[in-house]
Chain length 154, copies 2
DNA sequence: TATTGTTATACTCTATAACTATA
DNA sequence: TATAGTTATAGAGTATAACAATA
């Protein structure tokens, strides 16, 4: 370990100033995402779902027959990282893989009735959390926030 | 591998609908953060800084004498994960560790002149990027977005 | 030749337990 | 007893290269 120089040539910091970082959209959106998602994780643990599991199952439920490649594109997941995830959800009986109607390479992903039931509850829970988070804001502000965020990444 | 059932009982999906996920603040803020930060990473690579290095050096530069513990609290980093980071920045000659004026356990972190110079350029680059990202929004919208995000996580 | 799904693997990030030196 | 800094390590997340089957 490097030796600490001495004597001290400055005073201590009482309150840390992060005002510069707080001007950055990337910093603020990351901090907000982490704050919301940490609570989201706690709630979804009751369903055995991580955030990425929730996203994948949500897209499959709303888009029966969607392919792995389409999931990767829409959720920004790399194909190799989706494989184990799909296998796990299939093993849990939440989705089924079916032959794609007109592409022998692809596989259509379909929610099972168990998956549909679970996601109905999970999405209801997510929407509840959304209202809690949104309670820090007015309904209009929530709408504005979502709209502005989408202008950034879409 | 599980056998794929047949025959297919559904059509293929042409356009993936992610409208439900897009109602969630957590989902949108995460996607926005990833989009902005990926560009941020490219720009900061020129300075040899990852996002977390930038954040740490920025706080140290604006708060000379700040302790590791204070850094951890303000940036939501776990102490064990900060150790190697600080050592690396010190090895690069960007910061110095000095005895804390009135706490023998703590160490004050100070930017070197090299660190100050680097951060001046890095923050200028970050602010340039901020304007580019912000060009998708009006200046008022950027201000609104930042304000709303802070209401979520602060 | 290009694309889908897959395997193997490496790398980074994040988290937990436990230790020391000092308050 | 509590806190700052540290060590070791485990786990999760993310990334690239390469392959077989199909378009």
């Amino acid at each position: 370990m490097t030796q600490i120089s001495s004597p001290p040539k400055s005073l201590s910091v009482d309150k840390v100033d992060t005002s510069y970082l707080q001007t950055l959209i990337g910093y603020n959106s990351r901090r907000a995402a982490l704050a919301v998602i940490s609570v989201f994780m706690e709630r979804m643990a009751a369903f055995g779902l991580r955030p990425v599991d929730f996203s994948v199952m949500s897209v499959i439920t709303h888009n029966p027959g969607v392919t792995s490649r389409q999931l990767c594109s829409s959720l920004n997941i790399l194909p190799p990282n989706l494989v184990g995830l799909i296998q796990s959800l299939e093993a849990q009986g939440l989705l089924e893989r079916q032959a794609h109607p007109h592409d022998g390479r692809a596989v259509g992903l379909h929610p099972t009735s168990k998956g549909v039931t679970l996601m109905k509850q999970a999405e209801a829970t997510a929407s509840e959390l959304e209202m809690e988070v949104g309670s820090k804001l007015t309904p209009t502000q929530v709408q504005t926030l979502v709209h502005l965020l989408q202008k950034i990444y879409l």
